[in-house]
Symmetry: C2
Subunit: 572 residues, 2 copies
Amino acid sequence: MRVSEFFLSTLKEAPSEAELPSHKLMLRAGLIRRLSSGLYSWMPLGLRVLRKVETIVREEMNRAGAIELLMPAVQPAELWQETKRWQKYGPELLRIKDRHERDYCFGPTHEEVITDIARREIRSYRQLPVNFYQIQNKFRDEIRPRFGVMRAREFIMKDAYSFHPDQSSLNTTYTRMHEAYIRIFSRLDLEFRAVAADTGSIGGTGSHEFHVLADCGEDSIAYCPTSGYAANIELAEAMAVKNMSENPSEPLEKIATPGVKSIEDVSQFFKTESCHAVKTLIIENDHGDFAALLLRGDHELNEIKAAKIPAVGGSFRLASEESVRKITGASSGSLGPLGLSIPLIADRSVALLENFIAGANEDGFHYQHVSFSRDLSHAVIADIRNVQEGDPSPDCKGKLSLCRGIEVGHIFQLGTRYSEAMNATFLDEAGQAKPLVMGCYGIGVSRIVGAAIEQCNDEKGIRWPVAMAPFTVAICPIGLKKSEPVRTATETLYQKLTEQGIEVLLDDRDERPGVMFADMELIGIPYRVTIGERNLGNGLVEFMTRNGESSELLALQEVAGRIQSQITQKNH
Amino acid sequence: MRVSEFFLSTLKEAPSEAELPSHKLMLRAGLIRRLSSGLYSWMPLGLRVLRKVETIVREEMNRAGAIELLMPAVQPAELWQETKRWQKYGPELLRIKDRHERDYCFGPTHEEVITDIARREIRSYRQLPVNFYQIQNKFRDEIRPRFGVMRAREFIMKDAYSFHPDQSSLNTTYTRMHEAYIRIFSRLDLEFRAVAADTGSIGGTGSHEFHVLADCGEDSIAYCPTSGYAANIELAEAMAVKNMSENPSEPLEKIATPGVKSIEDVSQFFKTESCHAVKTLIIENDHGDFAALLLRGDHELNEIKAAKIPAVGGSFRLASEESVRKITGASSGSLGPLGLSIPLIADRSVALLENFIAGANEDGFHYQHVSFSRDLSHAVIADIRNVQEGDPSPDCKGKLSLCRGIEVGHIFQLGTRYSEAMNATFLDEAGQAKPLVMGCYGIGVSRIVGAAIEQCNDEKGIRWPVAMAPFTVAICPIGLKKSEPVRTATETLYQKLTEQGIEVLLDDRDERPGVMFADMELIGIPYRVTIGERNLGNGLVEFMTRNGESSELLALQEVAGRIQSQITQKNH
């Protein structure tokens, strides 16, 4: 492709709306343009990248035996009413009325539609298992769209749905999808991690997320370099950890602590570390029931875990200051577990403490020398905290590290949740009607583009992995219009690379070298060949990789071979 | 692809909702499934066809220098307000409110969005011309969706938009697109016709439609086999035609014609042909102005042409019976042109009549021997009728024939309508800001699939052109599970064809031959190889083409070569 026949549109500065490096770079490189809040046009350069991702996803889905179809973006409300999601799904579901005032939505996902297809098409176990997928634009009406394509409202997703006679068949396909995802992200040449995940609102029995690792990622991932264990921090099991400096318990003692409210205040006042204090959180669930959650001062509450504890009873929020005073007799700076008549849930690590500090439920007073075994043996003990760097791995084979990731894939075992709600059954070998067992498998195709840039960029711009690059090679001729030898060498090389199936962007704008180089670095082309009259006098051109690792002079006729060998090397 | 690893779902009978052969066959062959009114899922088999069409469209657009991008389906109302289309576009525009109650629509077309991109991105004549396109799902909220994918609400379209410094540059790209469209429909191997067309509500200065010819087509096309002239009947110029049997004019005579109302009544009463009578239509335009339109009894009004006559003044309807009586003094069965005080517009052919019959504007009376030149010389003469089979071609080089077509492509010269409304300008060589000159070019990608079936089917099912077929060859082994030689020959042939890049559907269901053959014929696979033990004993297999022209026994090792040569032949 010649730049003169393409549409490059680079910017010196990113619009101020962009916060993340990837968002800034996508705008500066002209990959996308904003149409409206959370709506982006994929410009020609960006679309080339998007299509490469799509192609790899499609090839690997096909290889794994999935069958592509294409469902409408607009879906009738009736199906969503069958699964009750029409009511449950919040304002993120973009609801639409047609000219006849009938209800539809712009699909954020397609469980209902595919289950409707399955209940009409699948009659017998002989048609199972089957795994359908599509690559399609979806809409999620985010309250605050941001980060460009990473949290856009309209986005492109690969969503797959598998149907099975039983759990064991689902397990087989689930594993095959897990492997396909690993191949996809490996082929994209991204640093990624598959992690155990919470199943969230889709529901189901098992789930893994695939994260592209990047410092700005919205998700925290806990992993054990020794054992390979990895889980979203939402789910990662926190083991009980014991304070090394724990003293044996002493008699309970109430201390006046005027002005001491936060855990930092307590540490300072008692001249100890925060791990010797306990936080008491009074919470109220959706039914108006209260409970107290106990956490070590240096630990963080994990709300997803806590919501699953029966004594908590589902989703909750911190109780109001008024309720807190009514229940404890104190304000939130002086709360403690002693003497409360509401359920107590202590984190596993709290249950190992024998000599800790906690509020006295009396403003301006704390207890010290509280012993869990002596004073709080009636509390429920549970895992309700986030894991921390250095915690023991739940598989007891090492210590956890934390990193940040961007979720780009998610696979679920749905079970029969949708098939039962929609009466999607099949006849088994005995002629019995049974609900179909389902799995679903998503990949955020457009999000991958942003995530890849988040992982692969430097001060000059994007550094595409070859597999995703819009073009593999940039040819920058210096003095194209003035020099006949430059022109001839440029055309010769362009033809030769193109014939070899290498995607070349020929910068025929006749700009100054600085402008060409800056643009090609900004848009992240992996290899650059600079053709100038001086080197050409010795039959040489300059070959450079985007990572800056090598810049060397090559004979013109060596270039094609060198690029081929670089690409091949990359793919092994 | 093996049928066991694919998803075939054929039906013996089409659902009753389907009227057209193509709609019935698409449902029966399992190409699509209905989700809701005007919403269809593309099943795996149908999607393969859709992708083939998409690929050919994309390749030819790229070859013609157009650059692909991808705009969001959801568009903000603000842009449509700038061009006033938010108000003008009727209920076919699917309007949406987001969670913040802001107005959006599901785009039926993208003139506004692309013009917004152009005004931000294009600054200088040096960036021109440029031609952007996308292939994308669109939504048009049809009041009565029907004919399956041919008039669906959600559909897939290729839409291109070009930007130019002046009309001459637009002409060049317009011609290039015209040629690209001819290549596209030729490669799809469809019988089609490019015709001059009305520009309709999009507006602009020139336009051509591309029609796939089919008896059920919603459009009438007039063409001249001698000269190559072709136009939509909406636009095709009707020349004045003279009655061969015309007598010289005689004195006007008023005749009592009790009960004579229609043109048929008149012909019968006066014992003459309808071409010797004139119909008078009293119409009322949107401003409440009336006019009388005069047409020969055997001619049909063309409303699009009439609306363009200044004396008519835009779109109109037939006047109410009440208004008609007020203006003429008669009811609609006795209307005539004589003595009316409203503007008279006579079709060109009426202006040649010298001895005709017309209503007397008095119930139960007609005039005979009306002479246009003597009695109606004050009338405006204009082309306001549809052409008819056998009319002279407007280029005077032959006679017109009529046929029916399905519109699958439309190219427009938009001029500056959108760029002026949205202030999309560029700086010309003299540094002057000027509005961009625009063209737009659509192809109904999903509609092509239906149109192709409408053109290519028989009593057994679909007859795909090779270029669009979901698979090129079907292999039907007889007794696959029982016969080792059949199994070996089948696998050998399957491997060989696949290695040669030929798309094969191997029917490994072990069904009876009749079931396999009926399915493969229904879904329209162009070539079929039947492998049975008996023929195999002589080293032979049966090779058949879907059109039934040839069925012959071939040596197993000849099959691949024969198919290759058939495909090559097809492409020349």
